[in-house]
């Protein structure tokens, strides 16, 4: 972009340089300010709440919903909400509510249900099985077999024992293993993206048995 010639002559070069420098400086300054604001905001946020284990797990629960496709019939039968259930003793506490509050999946509002009996779990989309229920895991899984419920738990060996997703801790990171065969038998389609980030993916039905 050139200025008209006549102003060239009248405006000393120094001034033009100053102007250009000032403009560039202003841009840099603006960039700096915006960057500062951006990073301090996020930094503050990070500092404020170093996420706890169950905070992460709560977010994961929600995120799983994003990468899984339920069969259309099951999705329709389970009503207008997207129930996320916790079976057994709730390890999340209010964190789960705060994390999932106002969220929606498949266009339906996420609702949290805390249930005690495996019979109630059939209506759920995602079922977190508390470690308290480790002993009658078999019954629970059997109860919801073919019901199209994604089962998640941090019970060790859960994926091996017929669960679909099992949280594992690697160092300070929380990861998960996937039993793809169980999920597929339940007619759930797991996104490859999900599989990609999983710590392990089991493809045989009962490899551990």
């Amino acid at each position: 972009m050139h200025r008209p010639n006549e102003t060239f002559g009248r405006q000393p070069n120094v001034q033009r340089h100053l102007c250009a420098r000032a403009r560039r400086g202003f841009l840099q300054f603006l960039t700096f300010i915006i960057a500062l604001v951006f990073f301090t905001a996020t930094g503050l946020l990070a500092q404020q709440a170093k996420p706890s284990e169950y905070q992460v797990k709560a977010a994961y629960l929600y995120n799983f919903g994003r990468f899984i496709k339920w069969p259309a019939g099951i999705a329709a039968s389970k009503g207008d909400s997207f129930p996320v259930c916790v079976l057994g003793r709730d390890p999340f506490g209010p964190i789960l509510d705060s994390t999932l509050a106002g969220e929606a999946l498949e266009g339906k509002p996420v609702v949290i249900r805390r249930i005690a009996k495996e019979q109630d779990a059939a209506d759920c989309r995602i079922l977190f099985v508390s470690s308290t229920e480790e002993n009658h895991l078999k019954e629970i899984l059997a109860a919801i077999d073919q019901a199209g419920v994604l089962t998640v738990s941090d019970i060790p060996g859960f994926s091996r024992r017929g669960g679909m997703i099992q949280f594992v801790v690697e160092g300070d990171r929380i990861r998960f293993e996937i039993n793809l065969a169980t999920a597929e038998s339940a007619k759930l389609v797991l996104s490859s993206e999900l599989l990609k980030v999983a710590a392990a993916v089991r493809r045989n039905t009962r490899s551990g048995d």
Binding site: I34, F38, A46, N63, R66, R173, R175, K196, V197
Partner: protein, 780 residues
């Protein structure tokens, strides 16, 4: 130069082609490359954006489930794109999540801000292009992808393009070169050819060459055709010109030949004319000689007749009885008449033959009048007639003095002749415009109108007068012809019984009023007439004295301004001066003193003519004569003669030498002179005269011109060249008709000239009395 021209146009054409095609191609290439670069860059950016998008979407799960490894795996896919320098995935808080670098040198970049409402931004720095794209999930940013790519591909592409462009350009220029050579053949070659032809034409003037015709281009074809056409026309016109030139040359030659022939003819003719002219001249010379001889041969015997009859009439040699006296008178009258007749006939024939030559000079009319009057005075007195003159002062005409006087003499003589006794004859001259009108008027019987026309014819006589014997009848004819020779015409006004007036006009010669009487050319001191200056402020008195003196043969000059008298006298050197005393503004006595005190004028005799009766005072102041008015003529003349004589000095008497070959004429002259008491010696031819003068210097010589052995001219020339005889007085007495030159010569070298055909005796004696101390007075 020629070669350079050829090069110039060809090279120019080639250059033009190359430049045009090169420039067009260069521009096209540049535009194309620029466009391609822009497009390519946009495509590259789009590509980058897509890659970022893919990376972003493939990193969502990694981000969501905090799996950097997975994200890095995704980034590793960029290895397939060698232009990607590095790529990072950042978390929303700005921390790097996963990164990839092509060259393993990870340079961490602070993420640039992404403007709100935009998910992507890019910038170019250090030959690199960088792009940041937010990873958005459900409308929320969960991280960002940063990709940095080099512009190697762009540069490579540019290089390739440059090479291609260079190749295309050179190929095109080569093609242009080839094409331009074709053009050159089509355009430049004909022009060069044309200029070559033009050069040949202008250098060799060879108009037969032609430029080769071509079909195209049309303008050039027209030019060449026009040039050829022009050459053809020039050739034709040159041919025509050459032909005309050749014809002209031939014609000139023909004309030259004709002219030469004509010239020859003319030469022959002029030769014959020359012969004829010589013939005529011979005839004319013969006629002249005849006239001259006639005049001499006729006059000589007549002079003898007249002279001796005169001597007889004087009764010097014994008394004559009445009858003898009457007869002698008849002889004398008849001889005179015959002489006059001969002179007139000769004059007339001379005039008619166109051989009358005028010796023109400035003539003062007044003095001519005076001479005429003094000559005719006796005639008029005889008839008791009043002969008067009335002339305006200082009138001068350019005329032959002798012929002018002859005209006046004839007219006045006629007037005296035809006017009864006690009549009045007047000579008048006055200025009319720039002419001088001269009139001779009388109160005689006049001339009848019917005769006025014929009066100028030769031998015409007035019938009524009856005095047939007087006059020859040629006078008026000659007079009229003489006036005509002077360029005028003689006119007549007359009424019967009231008199007649003859008149003519001559051009006035301009002269200042101050030079009142002065002759414009000082007359050489020819001592033929003593010169008297009359100092008199009264016109009437002056005129009276003037006519009294002029009638006695003196040359008179008048001065009416006494204050100028001394200067005039000094200038004119008169022989005597008459002086009035009572004058204004200067008194005569003062003038007298001036004259006597001025060495130039002190020797001039002064005759005081006055009414003041104080002779003592006058003579005391140096006056030579003192006359008291009224002065009669005789007293005046006696006083003048006394003065002149005293001036001449009382030299001892010497002889007068008469040189004359005709015995009878010689005898007659000797008798005449002796009768007046002069001592005379004689010489019969030129040689005798020479010897005589050499032996003893005579008082005066009377010289005939036509002489045996030595002519009068030769004698005169010899005498004048000798200091001893240089001042010798010579009177020429001749019957020869003088030519203009001879007349002029004699006026310069002789004292007086007398012609035998005129009445010469009385004037001769009078002149002798003036010049020579008269022995008769001393002897008496």
């Amino acid at each position: 130069m020629f070669k350079a021209q050829k090069h110039s146009i060809s090279r120019k054409l080639t250059w033009m082609n190359m430049l045009v095609s090169g420039a067009a191609l260069l521009l096209a290439c540049a535009a194309f490359i620029a466009f391609d670069m822009i497009t390519f860059r946009q495509a590259m950016l789009r590509n980058l954006s897509t890659q970022a998008q893919i990376i972003g979407s493939n990193s969502i799960s990694a981000l969501l489930f905090n799996d950097p490894q997975s994200a890095e795996n995704t980034l590793l896919a960029l290895k397939a794109a060698p232009n990607i320098l590095s790529a990072q995935v950042y978390l929303t808080d700005g921390r790097p999540f996963a990164s990839y670098s092509r060259d393993r040198d990870r340079h961490r970049t602070v993420l640039p801000p992404i403007p709100s409402r935009q998910t992507e931004t890019h910038w170019v720095e250090d030959d690199q292009i960088a792009l940041v794209r937010l990873i958005v999930l459900d409308g929320k940013p969960i991280g960002a992808v940063y990709i940095r790519s080099d512009l190697q591909e762009l540069r490579g592409r540019l290089q390739r393009y440059a090479i291609i462009a260079a190749i295309v350009l050179s190929a095109c220029l080569l093609a242009a070169l080839l094409i331009s050579s074709i053009f050159r053949r089509a355009v430049a070659e004909p022009i060069v050819n044309l200029s070559k032809i033009a050069k040949v034409v202008s250098r060799d003037k060879n108009y037969s060459v032609r430029a080769t015709s071509i079909r195209s281009p049309a303008e050039l074809a027209i030019l060449i055709d026009a040039f050829n056409e022009m050459l053809t026309q020039i050739q034709q016109s040159e041919k025509a010109l050459r032909k005309a030139h050749d014809e002209l040359e031939q014609r000139v030659q023909e004309r030259t030949a004709e002219l030469e022939a004509a010239k020859k003819e003319v030469e022959e003719f002029s030769h014959s004319i020359l012969l004829a002219k010589e013939e005529v001249e011979r005839g004319s010379r013969f006629k002249d000689q005849f006239l001259s001889t006639m005049s001499h041969e006729l006059r000589t015997p007549l002079n003898a007749v007249l002279g001796f009859s005169d001597l007889l009439a004087d009764e010097r040699y014994g008394p004559l009885n009445d009858r003898q006296q009457r007869y002698v008178a008849h002889i004398h009258t008849g001889g005179k008449h015959l002489l006059k007749l001969i002179s007139d006939i000769l004059d007339l024939s001379k005039i008619e033959a166109g051989r009358m030559e005028l010796a023109r000079e400035d003539v003062t009319v007044a003095s001519a009048f005076s001479e005429v009057i003094s000559a005719l005075y006796p005639l008029a007195e005889k008839k008791s007639q009043a002969l008067l003159q009335q002339v305006e002062p200082n009138l001068q005409v350019h005329a032959d003095a002798m012929r002018f006087k002859q005209v006046l003499m004839n007219l006045a003589g006629n007037a005296i002749k035809f006017t009864p006794e006690s009549g009045r004859i007047e000579l008048l001259a006055h200025q009319v415009d720039d002419q001088v009108r001269v009139e001779v008027r009388d109160n005689g019987p006049g001339i009848p109108a019917e005769q006025q026309q014929r009066i100028f014819e030769a031998f015409f006589r007035l019938t009524e007068t009856g005095s047939a014997t007087e006059g020859t009848g040629l006078g008026l004819a000659i007079t009229s012809r003489l006036v005509e020779l002077h360029g005028s015409k003689l006119g007549i006004e007359s009424r019967p019984s009231e008199g007649a007036c003859f008149y003519f006009s001559l051009p006035l010669i301009a002269s200042t009023p101050n030079q009142t009487i002065q002759t414009s050319t000082p007359v050489p001191r020819a001592r033929n007439a003593p010169r008297i200056l009359i100092i008199e402020d009264n016109a009437a008195t002056g005129q009276l004295i003037q006519s009294q003196l002029a009638s006695s043969g003196y040359e008179t000059l008048r001065c009416d301004k006494p204050e100028r008298a001394r200067d005039m006298a000094a200038e004119l050197q008169p022989d005597a001066v008459t002086l009035d005393l009572l004058m204004q503004p200067v008194h005569g006595l003062e003038v007298l003193l001036q004259l006597k005190n001025d060495p130039r004028t002190s020797k001039i005799p002064v005759i005081v003519v006055t009414i003041v009766d104080q002779p003592g005072v006058g003579t005391a102041l140096g006056a030579d004569e003192y006359l008291i008015k009224p002065v009669d003529k005789a007293t005046l003349l006696a006083a003048v003669e006394r003065c002149l004589r005293s001036r001449g000095g009382a030299a001892p008497a010497r002889t007068i030498l008469v040189v004359e070959d005709d015995v009878s004429t010689l005898e007659m002259i000797v008798e005449l002179l002796k009768g007046y008491g002069y001592a005379v010696s004689t010489a019969a031819d030129g040689e005798q005269a020479r010897v005589s003068v050499a032996q003893s210097l005579p008082e005066l010589v009377i010289l005939d011109l036509v002489l045996p052995k030595m002519s009068g001219f030769e004698l005169l020339a010899e005498w004048r060249s000798n200091p001893r005889t240089a001042d010798l007085s010579v009177f020429v007495l001749t019957s020869k008709d003088l030519t203009k030159e001879e007349d002029k010569y004699l006026r310069a070298h002789a004292e007086s000239l007398f012609r035998k055909q005129n009445a010469w005796r009385e004037p001769l004696i009078k002149q002798l009395e003036r010049v020579v101390t008269s022995p008769s007075l001393e002897n008496a």
